[in-house]
Structure formats: structure tokens, C-alpha cells
């Protein structure tokens, strides 16, 4: 991927991310404001009205722009880019964005017009479809399995339901013009400020849905009894939804970590059942610990198996950015060869005191050490023949000469290495003549130490 294309993708995804969030916020704002204004219509708030109509304007402009874009796309015949933010589904696009109430009032007018316009306002609630669609897209494109997003959705649902019930509970009293047996009259709250009345209504809804039920505010007439029954049932469902979501959130926390350590547990229990010694068990355990700390339990190659080669090269270059500069081959290789090597190299993690290669083995490839240190030893001597560290490589001589290894390489600590398998080496050598030059340059840096080993009769 070129730098320009990368920058484009980044910009596009950031912009759509921001847009999605804005539309979700605006959609929610609409839902809260519209229902609030519907219930408390007798006490109009200038602020909320201005806010509501500003949001309307934003939706209207967006729907208009979308229409223009779609027309452009149709005429040019290009595919619609995926993932672009849409405030709501296209079917409800105009329904949710046109302020029908204002249009209706303008056309019809009069008391009858006002009453219909009031109901037409509720059409804006179709924007809620856009809110949940937006949340789904956020989850799909940005936050797979994110706990924060799911908590966010839970809070939105709970808040919306409580708000709607609050508005309706207030309406039971207001719609009948505050009869003497309504809860609001009995509480003596008629005439209090909108905020106080809203709070009181919300208080009853919360105590009822959470099954606390203090009993200080109670239903008093048929309508209120019926609505109270409804709230109790909704409350139980809401309660179940909250519990279920919380439970699934807890079980989904650190899903990958749990899966990794479960695998470790399986391996350990197998080793125990086969009576493998504690020493080996401890080594296995420390290997897995290292794998988790350094690689989050994932071998680069198993992870990248699914990706197409071009994307694999991009991801590998980023993943291995700390290690690659240590490998001389990559310092000298031109881009095409470098990419070919990247997808061919096999990453290895060798635990301390384990052998990277053993004396007498047939050459199977070239090993590049990217991190950690190892010693060259032979079976006939206790002495360390050479010390290998990050940037060193071996295995080329045995491969080219077709001989067996004259010594072993043992890791002193955790060693991160890459193996270029013999078959890959032959293949790349055949298709990239420049490999020879690159290897020569790299070899010149280590000629003295290799010469020292060869003089001792050790080839690796």
C-alpha cells in the first residue's frame, strides 16, 4: 500500500468514525427532546426548541447531501463506498429529516393543525433507527467485541426507556388536565417547575422499574393502574436485559487472554498426565509466558495465514519493525526482495538452554537472530566456540556446501529468530539474483567470526 493510499484510508476512517458519533449523538438528542416536548407541550422551552430545530436542519442538510452524492454515483456508475456514515436508513431518510409538523402547521394551521402537528413531531423518532445502525457500524468497523461500546448501548437503551416511561407517566395526568385523583395532584406537584415535575415522574418510574417501589407515589385511577402494570412488566424486562448484558460482558472480557491460557492449561494437563518431569513442565510454562508477554500468544504466521500476501507484507513490516533492522539481510535487500523474504521467513522463539540447531544436523535453512543471544558449542568440548547475538546469522555455509552442521547453537536467553528454509532459499536465489549480492554484503560483516569457526573445523 502506498503512503498516499494509507493516509487516505486513515483519513476516511477517522472522518466516518467522527461522523458516526455525531449522528448517534444527534439522533439520541432528537429522541429525548421530541418526547420531552411532546409531554411537556404546555410549558414550551425556547432552548429545547432551538436545539431541536438545529438538529432538524443538520439532518435535512445531510439527507440532501446524501441524495446529491447518490445521484452523482448513479451517473458516474461508481460503487458506493462502504462504511460512510448514514444518519438513518435510506427508506426513512426523508421521513426523519423533514420537519413535517412545521410544514403541516404552515399549510393547515388552527387548533386542529396544532394537535396533528404535535403528533407529526414524533416522526423524528425514526432517527433512533439510525442511532442503533450507527452503533452496529461502530462495532463492526472499529470496536469488535468492545466492552465500552456494549456498555454504552446498554446505557442508551436504559436511559431511553426510562425517559419515555417518565414522559408517559407525566402524560397520564396531563392528558386529562390534572384530575383530582391523578398522582400529580395528590403529590401537590401541579404548577411546579417542569424540571421538578420531570424529576418526580422519573423518580416513580425508576422506583417501579427497579422493583424498589417505595409506595410514596402510587397509581390512583384506571389509566394510571394500567400504565403502572405496563411499567412493572417493562421494568422486569429491562432488569433482565441489564443483567444479561452485564453477564455476557464479564464473560467476554479478555476473550483472547482466556483462550490462550486455556490452551496452556490443556498442554500442561496433558504433560502432567503423561508424567513429564517438572523441569520440562516449567520450561513449557515459561515458554508460554514469554509468548504471551512478547507476542500476546500469537505466532505471527498463524495470525497472518488469512491475509492476502500484499497485506501480509504490510502487517509483518509493522510487527517486525523492531527486529528487522537487526537482520543484515533486510538492511541491504531492495524492496521486492525484502517483501519476498518477509513472507518466506519463519519466525521462531527459542527458550533459554534450548538448541536452535544441533551438531550433525543436515542443513535445513539459514537462521537470523533478531533478539537474544546464543552460544556455538560442540560435543567434544565444553568451551563456547563463539557467541551469537542480534544481527548474526548462520546456516548458509552448510546449506551451500551441502554438509552437516559442525556445531550446535544453544540459546542463552529467549531468542527471537527467523528461519529461511532451504527450499525458500533456493527458490528466492533462483528468482532474485540480487540475493547473492545482499548475502555477500551481509557476510562481509561477519567474515572474521566465521573464519574463526571454520578454522576450528566448525561450520554451521
Amino acid at each position: 500500500m502506498t503512503a498516499d493510499a494509507e493516509a487516505n484510508v486513515r483519513l476516511r476512517s477517522r472522518r466516518t468514525f467522527l461522523e458516526e458519533n455525531i449522528w448517534i449523538t444527534l439522533g439520541l438528542l432528537t429522541a429525548f427532546l421530541v418526547t420531552f416536548e411532546f409531554a411537556f407541550v404546555h410549558a414550551p422551552q425556547l432552548g429545547t426548541s432551538i436545539l431541536l430545530y438545529s438538529v432538524d436542519l443538520a439532518f435535512l442538510i445531510s439527507a440532501w447531501r446524501r441524495r446529491q452524492e447518490n445521484q452523482g454515483v448513479e451517473t458516474s456508475g461508481q460503487a458506493v463506498a462502504d462504511g460512510s456514515a448514514r444518519p438513518f436508513g435510506s427508506a426513512f431518510s426523508w421521513l426523519g429529516s423533514i420537519p413535517f409538523d412545521i410544514v403541516f402547521l404552515g399549510v393547515v394551521g388552527g387548533p386542529w393543525g396544532i394537535s396533528v402537528a404535535l403528533w407529526l413531531r414524533l416522526l423524528r423518532l425514526v432517527r433512533l433507527g439510525g442511532v442503533f445502525g450507527g452503533l452496529r457500524r461502530l462495532e463492526r468497523h472499529w470496536f469488535t467485541n468492545s466492552a465500552a461500546l456494549r456498555i454504552g448501548r446498554l446505557l442508551i437503551v436504559v436511559a431511553l426507556v426510562l425517559h419515555l416511561l417518565t414522559c408517559i407517566w407525566y402524560l397520564t395526568a396531563y392528558a386529562n388536565d390534572f384530575p383530582t385523583d391523578s398522582w400529580l395532584t395528590i403529590e401537590g406537584a401541579v404548577g411546579q417547575s417542569t424540571g421538578d415535575v420531570y424529576l418526580l415522574s422519573l423518580y416513580w418510574v425508576v422506583t417501579t422499574t427497579t422493583t424498589v417501589g417505595f409506595g410514596d407515589i402510587v397509581p390512583n385511577n384506571t389509566q394510571e393502574y394500567m400504565f403502572a402494570l405496563f411499567v412493572m412488566i417493562i421494568g422486569a424486562s429491562l432488569f433482565a436485559y441489564v443483567i444479561a448484558t452485564s453477564a455476557s460482558l464479564v464473560s467476554a472480557l479478555n476473550l483472547s487472554k482466556v483462550a490462550f491460557w486455556n490452551r496452556v492449561e490443556t498442554v500442561e494437563s496433558y504433560l502432567r498426565s503423561r508424567r513429564v518431569s517438572d523441569d520440562v513442565n516449567i520450561e513449557v510454562r515459561s515458554y508460554y509466558e514469554y509468548l504471551w508477554d512478547r507476542h500476546r500468544g500469537i505466532g505471527e504466521h498463524s495470525l497472518l495465514g488469512d491475509l492476502p500476501p500484499s497485506l501480509r507484507v504490510d502487517v509483518l513490516s509493522e510487527l517486525l519493525r523492531d527486529l528487522l533492522p537487526n537482520v543484515p539481510l533486510f538492511r541491504y535487500a531492495p524492496d521486492a526482495l525484502r517483501n519476498e523474504l518477509l513472507v518466506s521467513l519463519e519466525p521462531l522463539v527459542i527458550p533459554p538452554d534450548n538448541y536452535v540447531v544441533r551438531e550433525g544436523e543436515v542443513a535445513d535453512g539459514i537462521y537470523f537472530i533478531a533478539a537474544g543471544s546464543a552460544d556455538v558449542i560442540t560435543s567434544d568440548s565444553l568451551e563456547t566456540k563463539a557467541h551469537l547475538g542480534a544481527g548474526d546469522y548462520f546456516g548458509d555455509l552448510t546449506l551451500m556446501l551441502g554438509e552437516r552442521r559442525g556445531g550446535s547453537v544453544r540459546a542463552n536467553e529467549f531468542v527471537e529468530a527467523f528461519r529461511l528454509k532451504a527450499s525458500d532459499f533456493e527458490r528466492i536465489r533462483g528468482s532474485y539474483p540480487e540475493l547473492r549480492e545482499v548475502l555477500t554484503k551481509a557476510a562481509n560483516e561477519k567474515s572474521e567470526s566465521v573464519a574463526h569457526l571454520v578454522l576450528e573445523g566448525i561450520i554451521l
Binding site: 551451500m400 556446501l401 554438509e403 547473492r436 548475502l439 557476510a443 562481509n444 567474515s447 572474521e448 566465521v450
Partner: protein, 108 residues
């Protein structure tokens, strides 16, 4: 392995015919050691007739180069492509002076 040599003052040109491997290496080593002991400061090896060089061969070449140092020098020429590749990719082309032909080896 057939070893022939040609003395030219301080220099000696050694021709190695056949494979330089584990079995032939001791004979070659003996011959090269002899030239060093005779006081030749420049040993030039003609690899033209050599088919193959194993690690044992590399070892005696390195040993001879070491013995000749610091006053003397080991030069090689006429390496076939596969042998040259081994020398280059092992980094030994920096340890030995490698030339295309005999004249270049003398001049270089």
C-alpha cells in the same frame, strides 16, 4: 587430487585438480604448509581445474592465509562460479584476495 606447482621467485603458483574435500584436504594442506615453510611469501592457488571445495578445503585455505600473515599473502584465481559463490556468500572473499586469472593475481 593432483597438485602441481610452479615457483616464481618469492611466489609459488599451486594448481589443484579435482575436488578439495575432507579426503584430499590433508594432502593439500601438507603441500601448502611445505611452500610456507620454504619461505614463499606469496602463495597463488589456481582453482581453474578444481571442481568442488568443501568446508575442509575452506579450513586449510584459512589456515594457510593465517600462517602467511602478516608478511605473506594468499591469492586465488580461476574459481568456477559455484565455488566463487561459496566464497562470496560466506564472506571469505574479504579474507582471500580473489582474481580472475593468473596475470591479475600477480599484478594485484
Amino acid at each position: 587430487m593432483n597438485i602441481t606447482s610452479e615457483t616464481n621467485g618469492e611466489a609459488v603458483v599451486v594448481r589443484l585438480e579435482g575436488s578439495l574435500d575432507t579426503t584430499t584436504a590433508p594432502t593439500v594442506q601438507e603441500a601448502l604448509d611445505g611452500f610456507v615453510e620454504e619461505g614463499h611469501s606469496l602463495v597463488i592457488i589456481d582453482f581453474g581445474p578444481t571442481d568442488f571445495v568443501s568446508s575442509a578445503g575452506l579450513r586449510i585455505l584459512l589456515a594457510t592465509a593465517k600462517k602467511l600473515r602478516p608478511s605473506g599473502e594468499l591469492k586465488l584465481f580461476g574459481l568456477n562460479p559455484s565455488v566463487l559463490e561459496v566464497f562470496e556468500m560466506s564472506g571469505f572473499s574479504t579474507i582471500f584476495a580473489i582474481f580472475d586469472d593468473e596475470a591479475a593475481a600477480f599484478a594485484g
